[in-house]
């Protein structure tokens, strides 16, 4: 793990605080997720990635049988199924296309 530092110039940091004070508002971006924020972030980064899934399939025996385009198609379908099952587990509304 890399460790480094940035933004440690005190004058610049004081200016940052001053801007926050002058703005007098909450510092946030994007939609307000409220109490759902933690789960949203966790789900967003823990979903199996398309590239990882495709790599597994390509490196397996399946990769010797299917073309790259076919593996793409299988990968997309598997991921849709995973998403759909996660939504069912959490009682989220399931998109019609899933």
């Amino acid at each position: 793990m890399i460790t480094d530092e940035f933004d440690i110039d005190e004058a610049e940091m004081l200016r940052d605080v001053q801007i926050e004070d002058e703005s007098g508002c909450n510092i946030s971006a994007g939609i307000n997720h409220g109490a759902n924020l933690g789960n949203y972030l966790f789900e967003k980064i823990n979903i199996i990635s398309y590239d990882e899934l495709k790599e597994i399939l390509t490196d397996s025996k399946v990769g010797n049988v299917l073309s790259s385009e076919e593996i793409d198609e299988v990968t997309a379908k598997i991921q849709e199924k995973i998403l759909a099952s996660r939504l069912e587990l959490k009682n989220y509304p399931i998109p019609k296309s899933a």
Binding site: N36, L41, F42, S49
Partner: protein, 193 residues
């Protein structure tokens, strides 16, 4: 294979402790199970249920079905002394382009939140300042590292717009595709446009 070199850094910075008016060390690291635990333990009970679930899930539904291509990075910032998550941010690093120059890729801040006790209206007064700004500057740094010239874009809720204007971010107007939230962009590296 997917980019396994996703940013693993533990970056040191400083945030401002209001109680004694000093800057204290803080660390920005990848969002983890510990970050989620902090959210559940410390944040959730202090978040007002001001967002109707129906609205939230409708929004999530519209944005849910994507195929992840390692393009999301989530970070948490902790103060070093107590090691409690003081802010969180999710960025997208591959699929967004500058509104000013469509040829240029940007780091898009999907979500940025500070802990409930660091918000302007918190009671008692906010404990730490510069939490959100430190995350924003980190997003800018990621943009530079990725070769995007430090360009950062985000959508702001109305109540936060003044902060981004004060940061000299470019106001690109309301975006109908994002619930009419206003889109801001740090077009010039360093934000000192």
């Amino acid at each position: 294979m997917g980019d396994r070199r996703k940013y693993m850094a533990l970056v040191k910075t400083k945030i401002f402790r209001v109680a004694d008016q000093v800057f204290v060390p803080a660390e920005i690291s990848k969002f983890s199970q510990k970050s989620l635990d902090d959210f559940e333990t410390f944040w959730r009970s202090r978040i007002q249920p001001d967002l109707q679930d129906e609205i939230y899930w409708n929004w999530l539904n519209k944005n849910r079905l994507y195929i992840s291509r390692d393009n999301y990075e989530a970070y948490a910032i902790e103060n070093e002394s107590e090691r409690i998550t003081q802010g969180m941010m999710l960025i997208e690093t591959q699929n967004h382009r500058s509104k000013v120059d469509q040829r240029k890729r940007i780091v898009y801040v999907e979500t940025l939140e500070t802990a409930p006790w660091n918000r302007q209206n918190s009671e008692p007064a906010p404990q730490f300042k510069r939490v959100g700004t430190a995350l924003l500057r980190f997003a800018q740094r990621r943009s530079q590292e990725l070769g995007y010239d430090g360009i950062v874009g985000l959508h702001s809720l109305p109540e936060s717009e003044i902060f981004y204007r004060n940061q000299n971010m470019m106001d690109c107007g309301q975006d109908p595709a994002k619930e009419n939230l206003t889109y801001f962009e740090w077009y010039k590296s360093g934000g000192k446009s």
